[in-house]
Symmetry: C2
């Protein structure tokens, strides 16, 4: 029997939780158990199929664990015995713990479509060997159908086209791709960029069945249309991987995620914490459960969980939801609420758009128009969210917005924001779009209805 003080179960957020606990409690023995030989950068998975070329180029190095004195055990945990504070591995090995962290992540959702189990239908799993096989299998594919036009689906479409002679069709049930994440005008822009790259996009399209004998040959839509396919990728979302926790009697919450408090401690057991996709999330804005899963949220939670194991240090403020993507060279990002979500929950809002080149003057090389749309609460002026599209700088501009949202800045605060500017790196100080959008919002916020 191995004895450890801190036992972490799982991959990406597990690494971060391990590092965080080791930083805060350097005298404790920290052990990470996981099934996978190597862990992939989850957000990098679509890029294996184009830019990176192989899962080999998308590995999180284990050197980080070693150099921080974290033990790595490769194996599959089949039982958590809370009474005796130990876990049992598939090979019979036992590891006793003082504090346990679930970082078991999520599993791809498999929709109940007839034919979904045919051999050339691939959910997006995160295992190295599985993805290596998928890269290999894709070499001979002529007609690729991607079911689901969320981030995974759109990034796969954009990457799989690179260096391949392949027809790609994205099938999305909603009126827009990326609609769960972005407002309509940004969805439309992303769809247009994807089409420009030669991808066919079919929105408002429900899949009825996957056809073929053993091997899929076509995707049949509800309207009768059949799309020829020799490979089908399922990118319709993920579900918390919490079977092990459930079997150990840990209380689950929304969407079967593990119920945790603001310290990431489970409701069921003061010695057990959870973080990442397997842990229940609460919205920063409403306090209600949130289904958002992002690697960046997972690592933020992992830092909190790891620090709090023996004494609470940090509190989770809830999910702001900040992300970015790139579709055919154009970057998109959202921090916090979209206009759609704000209206859905009945918020009185002021919507304020602005656009400006991301260099100054606009004639600097590789200049790109950045579009921003900020959402403020009408009654208080507090920023609720912001959407962006533009060049690469969108990736960090969305983080400027995240900082503004986290600290509940108002339009008035953002007007006074002292951004640094430089001709080659940012918009001009006159035109800086986040500040200008805030300027436009100040008067509508002041006005009574």
């Amino acid at each position: 029997m191995i004895k450890t003080d801190v036992l972490v179960l799982g991959g990406l957020s597990g690494i971060t939780a391990g590092l965080s606990s080791k930083r805060h409690y350097p005298d404790k023995k920290v052990t990470l158990v996981r099934k996978e030989g190597t862990v992939l950068v989850p957000c990098g998975i679509p890029y294996i199929f184009g830019t990176l070329g192989s899962p080999k180029n998308n590995v999180i190095p284990d050197g980080l664990l070693e150099s921080n004195g974290i033990e790595l055990v490769k194996g599959e945990v089949i039982e958590v015995n809370r009474k005796n504070k130990l876990v049992i591995l598939q090979d019979g090995q036992e590891i006793s713990y003082d504090k346990l962290v679930f970082a078991t992540g999520s599993l791809p959702m498999i929709p109940p479509i007839p034919g979904v189990n045919k051999k050339n239908v691939y959910p997006v799993r995160k295992e190295f060997d599985y993805l290596e096989n998928l890269v290999e299998a894709m070499k001979s594919v002529k007609n690729l159908v991607i079911i689901g036009g969320g981030f995974i689906g759109m990034e796969f479409a954009d990457e799989c086209r690179k260096g391949r002679d392949v027809n790609i069709t994205v099938v999305e049930a909603l009126p827009h791709c990326l609609q769960m994440a972005m407002d309509d005008e940004f969805c439309a822009e992303a769809e247009a960029k994807c089409k420009e790259a030669g991808v066919t996009i079919m929105v408002n399209s429900k899949v009825k069945a996957i056809l073929g004998d053993g091997t899929a040959t076509a995707v049949q839509l509800s309207n009768g249309v059949e799309l020829k396919a020799d490979m089908i990728i399922l990118g319709i979302g993920a579900t918390p991987n919490t079977e092990l926790a459930k079997n150990a009697g840990i209380t689950l919450g929304f969407n079967n995620a593990i119920k945790v408090d603001r310290c990431m401690q489970t409701y069921s057991d003061p010695n057990i914490f959870a973080c990442g996709d397997c842990a229940e999330k609460i919205s920063f804005f409403t306090g209600r459960p949130s289904g958002v899963m992002l690697a960046s949220i997972a690592t933020a939670e992992a830092r909190i969980a790891g620090a709090n194991l023996f004494s609470p240090v940090h509190q989770n403020c809830g999910v702001i939801s900040v992300f970015s993507t790139v579709i055919n060279g154009r970057a998109f990002g959202v921090a916090g609420m979209t206009e759609r979500v704000a209206r859905q929950i009945g918020m009185k809002i002021v919507v304020s758009p602005h656009e400006a080149p991301d260099t100054h003057p606009g004639g600097m090389p590789n200049s790109c128009m950045t579009k921003v749309k900020l959402i403020f609460a009408k009654d208080t002026g507090v920023i609720l969210g912001g959407s962006l599209s533009g060049g690469k700088s969108v990736g960090e501009m969305v983080n400027v917005l995240s900082a503004c949202i986290m600290h509940k800045m108002t339009a008035n605060d953002i007007v006074q924001f002292q951004m640094g500017t430089h001709p080659a790196l940012t918009a001009s100080p006159i035109a800086y779009p986040i500040v200008n959008a805030a300027c436009k919002a100040v008067l509508p916020i002041k006005k009574s209805d």
Copy 2:
């Protein structure tokens, strides 16, 4: 006599002040008077000599004024008559005002060096014709000496080398170039990048005289060394352009800048406001006068001044000082205090560095290592500043830091920061350097001395 409600005197921050006042008081007549036919993007001036090729490509379009209903009067104001609330132009024209905004900017400092007035010695002025002549004159230059290794000097050195067969030497009196703005290790990195581009850098070097008959032929240093020169650029700083205000009896403060309160109202006259390089600045951190001049500060002040003319709306929180630059392809940025400044004023601080590639995995194309160093107050954990070097994303990362500083976030807050991440746009969620630097600072802050 022209009558206006709001009269703005000056260039860059004048445009922003005009836009802001028109936004807040759409019924008021707003008039901008300036000497220059066209206003250049001030931060773009070094780029005229390389990347942009001509001042023509660095003009702030006046369409912004027109489309916002702001009157433009081209002329030089020679007197402000506060008693009668009017200004007199060189051509005898008078303009009466209700509210007046000084946005008269700054003038390049001319050091008291023997020979500084020779005809091929050029201070960095902002006028179109002057710069067009300078671009033309540079065509035949073989030996260019730049006196002053601050931002202007270093950016000129980096740009003037482009597409020219010219020997460039930067002469800096301090031990490092950029030393007024950045910590030593970042200065050293910038110097190395500049040298890599073929520029000669001489630090600890005081200029004794500029030699030659009428035309400068060499720069003589205090240690006797003579640098051959057929053009000399002076990049040693700027001084507030406040002669007009002084003559009108407006109280000046630090460095002869116009004394203003937090609303940007002058101490001397409730109907007169000032913003930009001509207005006195107060440090965000200490409340003491600050000599920092940046276009981004000028526009932030202009937004505040314009909004407050008839009724206070915004307050100036003081100068955080946020800037970025690019030297030979590497970006540098600082927000708030450097380690040097924090130690100079005797702060007890925790200094926390981290570095990570600006993509994830690091094998993504054009990946670049980002270095960050955060400075926290030891007693409170509040962030005081951050320095960065890396790729283009530094331009907006420094703005993430600015938001954190403006709202006095602590290391504890930043650990929980929910940054968005994407393989092509940012560091990985595990390695995101701002958050990781904060993580490393939490324990040293907690520890008592």
